[in-house]
């Protein structure tokens, strides 16, 4: 963990920003230009990530800022406990929701988590029940805060519970979304339940939130395909502007983006990505692995002759939320 006070004091003393201080630490403690001009080719991406990190720093999310800078650029170091003591490395991922590298990985984990229950309900539909796609919208206020998002999720939950009051065996999954490069917060819901007229949905949403615009349609796809359609925006960050990405990370800090209710909550699948790794042992000799302190740039790990051992299950990924 960074000692933020010490880091800020040192950055001030050196006349640089905290973001530059972080970049300096990362560069020096992973210090190599292994491919000649590789760092120049990479500058645009580093600059983009640096801007996101700057926003996170400004909102005191220091650890997330560091993770965003390190993502897929740095690696944890491992050594096997065998006689040969093979040197290995495992790339670091930030696992943040709006990271262009990690968002597709989060999408894959969400599909794995929710696919089994959706397949099951599609295969054994209750008479009169079906899959419906709902969109619930709010007014664009020009900014987003964690409190606003928490309230929005509470409102979605209340609305669905109100509409399904007295109904047995219903379930829903929803995903919070924002428009591309804006703060237009809305939810896409996949509802498994009886027929629901648009007017009743609009009335309930209006009663709870004061907003009126809703859409409902019969799901055009079933099972896993409906889920992929619902979650497709999770796989891609909703902005090209790094400031906007940073603000979204801040707004969603400590809140979930994907939620399940009723039947779809009760029978959710296991998220095995955080408990199982193909890379538990040394690929050379099969010996157990030991994690060494510190990290290094991936290109340095390769040049040093370390062997890639895939992603490991870290404590943070075990506590993963979507």
């Amino acid at each position: 963990m960074i000692d933020v006070n010490k880091a800020e004091a040192q950055a001030t003393q050196w006349g640089i920003s905290l973001r530059d201080w972080m970049e300096l630490q990362l560069r020096i403690f992973g210090n190599v230009d292994a491919f000649g001009d590789s760092d120049i080719d990479d500058d645009r991406d580093e600059e983009w990530r640096g801007t996101v990190a700057q926003v996170l720093v400004e909102h005191k999310l220091f650890s997330k800022a560091k993770r965003y800078l390190e993502c897929a650029r740095y690696a944890h170091l491992y050594q096997c406990k065998g006689k040969e003591k093979h040197d290995l490395f495992s790339p670091i991922y930030c696992d943040l929701r709006f990271c262009p590298r990690c968002a597709p990985r989060q999408f894959a984990r969400l599909i794995q988590k929710y696919e089994p229950v959706l397949k099951a309900v599609s295969a054994h539909k209750k008479p009169g029940f079906g899959m419906r796609e709902i969109t619930l919208t709010t007014r664009n206020t020009g900014s987003l805060t964690p409190a606003q998002i928490k309230q929005f999720n509470l409102d979605v939950k209340k609305t669905l519970k109100l509409l399904m009051s007295g109904v047995e065996g219903w379930g829903a999954i929803w995903c919070d979304e924002v428009g591309f490069n804006n703060t237009n917060l809305h939810a896409h819901v996949l509802l498994y339940g009886p027929f629901l007229p648009q007017t009743r949905l609009a009335g309930a949403w209006n009663e709870i939130t004061g907003y009126e615009v809703v859409y409902i349609t019969k799901a055009r796809k079933s099972g896993a395909k409906a889920l992929i359609h619902l979650l497709k925006y999770v796989s891609k960050p909703p902005a090209s502007d790094p400031n906007q990405i940073g603000l979204l990370e801040v707004a969603f800090h400590g809140t979930r983006r994907v939620h399940a209710l009723g039947l779809l909550y009760n029978f959710v699948g296991e998220d095995t990505d955080n408990v199982h790794s193909e890379w538990d042992t040394c690929p050379h000799c099969g010996a157990e692995l030991t994690k060494l302190p510190g990290s290094t740039r991936i290109e340095k790990a390769i040049i040093d002759g370390r062997t890639f051992v895939g992603t490991k299950s870290t404590a943070r990924r075990k506590a993963w939320i979507n």
Binding site: G15, I16, I28, N31, D39, I40, D43
Partner: protein, 79 residues
Amino acid sequence: MTEELREALGDYKIWRNPSMGTEPIAYLGSYRPPKGQFFFTPKDLQELGFGPGDYTVLAPAGARSPKLFSKWQMVTVPE
């Protein structure tokens, strides 16, 4: 870029990289590259009195260009 422009861009900041991971990073101060240059070579650092080792240079904001001049520069002064 002209010499006037380089002057206007401001100073570059230089740190000495620790030779071992446990040592702290040493800030050496703000400097400008020799006339007509927008980066530092190992010889430039030697002439500033810096001994053998690895150095990290931060270019002033205006002197950075995605293709030509990196924000960060690594320079090794040989033995």
